[in-house]
Symmetry: C2
Subunit: 429 residues, 2 copies
């Protein structure tokens, strides 16, 4: 369990919509409707998309389902309003009944999500990670505990591996995570025991931000022994996310599905120790499938902990890449410059680490005195919606506050002096 | 030093030409002339080729050099007999003088080569390894102690690596060599201390054939402690070869040059442990340069003995291949079938291991009773020159004898029963 009651979630209340601009982001009601529908067993992307096209919104689907005879109408093929060319199918009776039941229990479901402090981020939401929209069949929503900003970092790297690493493997995970933290990259992993946990923990220790993608609902956190680690991830400005409803138990099937989210959130996936048939190799396969970079740490040819990595490198010699050392990997990831770039680790920039390139830029603009959306649009040349999304991220991270249409630095960003940006950069490697 | 005097070379006398067919192979006189010219400092492939084109043969060059005023004429630009388009340059005065001195000392040089038991194999000789002719600037001759057949095996694999291997590296070299022996491949290496020596020794122990390419002349064998190993290589039907005259001392420059012969003799080069800047990586580079396959055994990313291998794999991800385990490597080399192919390890086939595909086929034909060159040409469909070259290899290996135009099995081949070829194959892996 996440220690939601004990230490209190960092961002328990979902943020109020920044703007009512049409299309800027879904309304709270609509996000809640999606969250209710996400809990319907058997309602996958195809059926959900079908209903969404037919009814226009999640809220409308729920309204239809809870109206008299509504479940029946969800099943009926759509009237061929566009002519006979598109006789769209309805959903099955079982699913329709499930939707009706979900609609009846909507208030309870939403209360449950609220009480756990989860934000619901739909694929239409500007807070939804852009990298995840680029994969095939992205989850239509993710439940987020903590700050979504960590998913928006300029560089997001997944570190995964075996649940039974060697000491050497654990040390490599920690060293890599610390270096990624030093360049402002977010570290994504699966909160599992072993390499995953080592990567999360070392990122936190190095002052970085990390995202844990769990293979269960938030209320059924797995593994239980990593409850404190999950709390620490959230408390440090990272996030624990899942595409599964809060009360979904972990099962054999949920982990491979989760793994595609890990790789999908990241620019590159690094596998550190994986025996043959390790789940980490599924994540590596997803990375390749998704057109992302995939790195594997080698080892001795007779070391069981490396067998899967070596086999993968042999099987995909043209696509899987070898890790020849941490400095080379940082270089291969295109992050070596950040290690020595002045300003990256300045107070302001360090403070903005993990909120992503877009929010980071907006944060710097606010730190030097730009205050209104108009000024920020003018100085960046970005669309209003982009600026508003960035402001949301910054507000959620406690780095800005807005009142009466003016924004100013808050928290750590207010404490940071924008002129101290020439100090010696951190280099770990 | 090779123990030439002590145990006696296996094939001390160069074989008499099998045939006087024009073009079949160079005459003994011509080979000797090339060997004499090979000792002339500064006479490289270009100058040698120029003189060869001008005078038609090595023997003619030596005759010219030792005739009155001959050295002078070697220097003069050739008369433009074909018109002004080809005013070919002569060699320098220093080289011409060197050739004249070499011509004067020819008898001594040839006596030296004979006394060491070296065969001189020129690039025009059918015994010259075909793979070596395919590289850029092949040595125009090689000095061979032992049986050239080992260079003609159907599969020839180079195993190289650091002079300071770990125990694990040494064990991998031995295991790979034993497996290569089991599939009838020849193992080429550099006779160096460390991985090279382990590869040679394990091949011998597994009953295979191996070729040591040394970076010095045969009389200056380096390293000296591997004198016994060199003797064993020769005694077991392998060869110790060099492109350097017998009295050339090893030097810094001779080893990289030697390395191109190691990779050039082989279908694939396998590097087992190489720290950064290891000479083994030069061999790997040559392999890529020569369009041959190149495999590197990985290791932990912080193991100095593997650093060079990992860096090479990272640097040439599309061309250098990773070794994920010995069975996979045998598979990648296309040799896995041989491990279970009946007959490969039958008496006859095992006996013919290491003589090469061509000589192996001829050996099998002779074992089943074909006796004349005409019969062998008819049964194989091969050119007469090819059949004659194969017969030479078999004779040198002591597997056939010929008299009055008829050939029959001898030695181990005579003892092998061609009908016992269904016995259980050897598998090591």
């Amino acid at each position: 369990m996440l220690g939601v009651g004990a230490s209190g979630p960092v961002h328990a209340d979902p943020p109020a919509p920044v703007s009512a601009l049409p299309g800027a982001r879904p309304t709270l009601e609509e996000r809640d409707a999606w969250a209710v529908l996400a809990g319907v067993r058997g309602l996958g992307p195809v059926g959900f998309g079908l209903l969404l096209r037919r009814y226009g919104s999640g809220a409308a689907i729920l309204r239809e389902a809870s109206s008299p005879g509504g479940a029946r109408r969800l099943v009926e093929p759509e009237e061929a309003s566009q002519g006979p060319a598109e006789p769209a199918e309805g959903v099955s009776q079982a699913i329709a009944d499930g939707i009706a039941r979900a609609a009846d229990g909507a208030a309870l479901t939403i209360g449950r999500i609220r009480s756990l402090g989860l934000a619901v981020v739909t694929v239409e939401d500007p807070l939804y990670p852009i990298r995840l929209t680029q994969i095939e069949m992205p989850p239509h929503l993710i439940y987020v505990l903590g700050s979504p900003g960590a998913m928006h970092a300029e560089a997001v790297i997944a570190i995964v591996g075996t649940r039974r690493p060697t000491d050497a493997g654990r040390a490599i995970a920690a060293r890599l995570a610390a270096n990624l933290a030093a360049v402002g990259a977010s570290v994504v992993s699966g909160l599992a025991i072993g390499i995953d946990g080592a990567a999360h923990a070392a990122t936190l220790q190095a002052g970085g931000t990390t995202v844990a993608v769990i293979g269960s609902g938030h209320a059924k956190l797995h593994p239980r022994v990593h409850g404190r680690l999950a709390d620490a991830v959230v408390a440090s400005g990272g996030a624990v996310i899942s595409e599964l409803g809060p009360d979904v138990e972990p099962s054999r099937g949920t982990f491979p599905r989760r793994n595609r989210v890990i790789s999908g959130l990241a620019d590159a996936t690094v596998v550190i120790e994986a025996p043959a048939r390790s789940g980490a190799l599924i994540t590596a396969s997803w990375a390749l499938e998704q057109g992302r970079e995939c790195y594997l740490v080698p080892g001795a040819i007779d070391a069981p902990a490396s067998a899967g990595c070596l086999a993968f490198l042999r099987e995909f010699p043209d696509r899987a890449r070898i890790v020849a050392g941490i400095p080379q990997l940082i270089d291969d990831l295109g992050l070596a410059d950040h290690l020595t770039q002045p300003g990256v680790t300045s107070d302001v920039a360090a403070t903005l680490t993990g909120v992503g390139e877009v929010a980071g830029r907006i944060g710097r603009e606010i730190a030097v005195g730009r205050a209104t959306v108009d000024e920020l649009v003018a100085s960046t040349g970005w669309p209003v919606a982009t600026v508003l999304a960035a402001l949301t991220i910054l507000e959620r991270a406690g780095l800005t506050v807005g009142a009466h249409g003016r924004f100013r630095a808050a928290g750590a960003l207010a404490a940071a002096d924008p002129d101290k940006s020439r100090q010696r950069p951190r280099t770990i490697v």
